[in-house]
């Protein structure tokens, strides 16, 4: 039985039971095709689901040097004076932000659990009010979860008047759970032009 023209038009007029073999095959093909579309929709959803998943994974594991940007309780700091760790500071200003920005001290050495305050200096070198947002990153990545901030200029956006220079403090400690082989870590801040919030 050979029948391969005009079958599409006939599909709608006949009951499924009356369909010829080829028509039934066409119907079966359409059904499998539609099922596969669900697979496509699934992968598309998966792509967007990766965004929150990626964030969760990064904050949990410190992959990628992401550190928590929320305040820690001071009471969590328990001093471990048996060892010390050196924390180095670096800074970047991203394109579009007319600031000078640098750490006042290149590094400090401290015991895990010891609370310290360090200062970064920012100066607006333009003649306009400029708002910036600092984004931290810690190397090595496995130690990033151990850098605990009590107070930081990076928690909120910072506004500088034209020509204004400001000392920006960071109060932090390194948690005693720091892996034993980490003797040095680097905290880097990148200042970005602040993104406009929805009004």
């Amino acid at each position: 039985m050979v029948l391969n023209v005009h079958v599409y038009g006939m599909e709608s007029v006949k009951e499924p039971a009356e369909l010829s073999a080829i028509e039934q095959k066409n119907l079966k093909n359409k059904r499998l095709g539609l099922k596969l579309l669900w697979l496509v929709a699934g992968s598309l959803l998966f792509a967007f689901a990766l965004v929150p998943l990626y964030d969760v994974l990064c904050t949990l594991t410190g992959l990628n040097g992401k550190t928590s940007n929320t305040a820690e309780m001071m009471s969590k700091a328990k001093l471990d004076s048996s060892r010390s760790v050196t924390v180095q500071f670096t800074s970047n200003v991203m394109p579009g932000l007319g600031w000078n920005f640098y750490p006042k001290q290149p590094s400090i050495t401290l015991h895990p659990g010891q609370i310290e305050t360090v200062v970064f200096i920012a100066k607006n070198i333009t003649n306009q009010v400029v708002v910036g947002q600092a984004v931290p990153s810690v190397t090595p990545g496995i130690a990033s979860a151990n850098l605990k901030k009590i107070e930081c200029f990076c928690f909120v956006r910072q506004a500088l008047q034209p020509g204004e220079e400001k000392e920006m403090p960071l109060r932090f400690f390194v948690s005693p759970e720091l892996p034993a082989d980490v003797k040095e870590m680097t905290l880097s801040y990148s200042f970005f032009p602040a993104v406009e919030e929805d009004k």
Binding site: V5, H6, S43, L50, L63, T139
Partner: protein, 530 residues
């Protein structure tokens, strides 16, 4: 109504003729021909772009173009070669040959098939239009980020990025539709008695490819959509200042991008063994082992993506995982290589053009695979990353492994598709010119890459001058040799010595039981496989 007819002949149909025939056709052979023709044209377009690059790199300093235009050529060359040349060529073969090989009257979803093809020309126009617009002072040219669209560059780029994003959307929709069609065809339309494990290897290669496409193309579509909203609608998926992360784009992109490599290669791994068995005149060695290896490679390909950006910063356990899983792919691949060689072993071999390409392909693709192992090594990759070594490596896999494989397929099936034999002498010339100039183009790039020449830069240090000059001259020979290929195809389509039904003495499989060229409607009565 002519629905009651039992047997069809050509004259019986009232198909449209001329342009309307091609616009409205749902015939798998017509659509296959259109895919293959489109692919050949885009292969020449993408090739001329890279000749511009090689001309600029002929000697140090900036001679012909500004760096921005250089970057645009590089990115569009890659997108065209991957999405508009290699993928449509494989889909074209699938359309032509899968129904013939499994004894089906046509593809399962013929109208979807037509739509899938006709999305391609608009996307090719979208990709290249910004070049023309720039001539009239609109925008600043095509996408200049390389084909990988990395932010923040792609967020800052001009309208070329938007054009490329929409082109990728269209190309993605097209290949997803093609894949769904192939999966349905292979599952539902096989001739009675042809179990999955009796399918020709080409069908297997494509089945896995199609599943990979359906699973990963939507991820790319999602990633470039996020890029689009970052550019125009104030989202911050990849903007660190807004809480996003540019590295996340690399994860999303390569989650698609690595399987894409196998998407380009699996169809070729399918039909090369068929060519080898034909010209060795003995059955394929290790059919089951090959099928399982193809599945293993398909599965592994989706879990190794981060080896493309080892240097972006990752914890050591992640580096180790991605290194070992990447290297694990070489195990099933080694099984495939063994089967290919064993198929030829003790065979009564003859070296017609398809066989020359197939054997050359094994050697050159092998070099591509081995240099990939070097790059997969985390410690070594720190030196090789982003250098010309990488460029040479992936051209061994994608030009030799992809395009030269496709050429083997073209010479193998051209007599079946056109009914005429191509010019064997010209074919052999084409093979030797291509193989030699290809090696002369890319071997020097391994050396300059090892010595530290970075990719995607229009100028270079003086010590790389000689090797780049060799590479450029060879690239022009390689480019011009392809004109032989085009000439051979065109003359073969127009006439020549008539091909027999079996065409090749050792050819086996259902497609060789039909006449050359096959009738417009074939296997309307499905054959029964015992």
């Amino acid at each position: 109504m002519s629905t009651t007819t039992v047997a069809h002949d050509e004259a019986h149909h009232d198909h449209p003729t001329g342009l309307m025939r091609w616009l409205t056709t749902t015939n798998h052979k017509d659509i296959g021909t259109m895919y293959l023709t489109f692919s050949l044209i885009m292969f020449l377009v993408g090739g001329s772009m890279i000749l511009g690059i090689r001309a600029e790199l002929f000697k140090p300093g900036l001679q012909l173009m500004n760096p921005d235009f250089f970057n645009q050529l590089i990115g569009v060359h890659a997108l065209i070669m991957i999405f508009a040349a290699l993928m449509p060529a494989a889909t074209g073969f699938a359309n032509w040959m899968i129904p013939l090989q499994i004894g089906a009257p046509d593809m399962a979803l013929p109208r979807l098939n037509n739509w899938g093809f006709w999305l391609l020309p608009p996307s090719a126009i979208l990709l290249t239009l910004p070049f023309t617009l720039a001539l009239f002072g609109i925008g600043d040219g095509a996408l200049a980020t390389g084909w990988t669209f990395y932010p923040p560059l792609s967020v800052q780029g001009g309208i070329g990025v938007d054009f490329a994003i929409f082109a990728v959307h269209l190309l993605g929709i097209s290949s997803v539709m093609g894949s769904i069609n192939i999966i349905v065809t292979l599952f539902n339309m096989r001739a009675p008695g042809m179990t999955l494990m009796k399918m020709p290897m080409f069908a297997w290669g494509w089945l896995i490819t199609a599943f990979l496409l359906v699973a990963t193309i939507p991820v790319l579509a999602g990633a470039v959509t996020m890029l689009l909203t970052d550019r125009h609608f104030g989202t911050h998926f990849f903007d660190a200042a807004g809480g996003g992360d540019p590295i996340m784009f690399q994860h999303l992109f390569w989650f698609f991008g690595h399987p894409e490599v196998y998407i380009l290669l699996l169809p070729v791994w399918g039909f090369i063994p068929q060519i080898l068995e034909t010209f060795s005149r003995k059955p394929m060695y290790g059919y089951k082992a090959q099928v399982y290896s193809l599945w293993a490679i398909g599965a592994l390909s989706v879990v190794v993506w981060a080896h493309h950006f080892f240097t972006a910063g990752m914890p050591v356990p992640a580096l180790l995982y991605f290194m070992y899983s990447t290297m694990a792919i070489s195990l099933p691949l080694a099984v495939l290589f063994f089967c290919w060689i064993k198929t030829m072993w003790n065979g009564s071999m003859s070296f017609e053009t398809p066989m020359l390409f197939a054997v050359g392909w094994i050697i050159l693709f092998g070099i591509g695979g081995l240099t990939g192992l070097v790059l997969a090594d985390v410690a070594a990759d720190a030196q090789y990353h982003n250098s010309y070594f990488v460029v040479a490596h992936f051209h061994y896999t994608l030009f030799a492994g992809g395009i030269m494989g496709i050429m083997a397929g073209v010479y193998y099936w051209l007599p079946k598709m056109t009914g005429n034999m191509y010019n064997e002498k010209l074919g052999k010339w084409h093979f030797w010119l291509t193989a030699i100039s290809f090696n002369l183009t890319f071997i020097p790039q391994f050396f300059v890459g090892l010595a530290g020449m970075p990719r995607r830069i229009p100028d270079y240090a003086l010590q790389f001058a000689e090797f780049n000059m060799i590479s450029s001259i060879a690239a022009f020979v390689l480019g011009l040799s392809q004109l032989l290929f085009v000439y051979n195809i065109v003359t073969c389509a127009r006439g020549g010595k008539k091909a027999t039904d079996q065409v090749w003495e050792g050819a086996k499989g259902l497609e060789w039981t039909l006449s050359s060229p096959p009738p417009y409607h074939s296997f309307t009565e499905q054959p029964v496989i015992k």
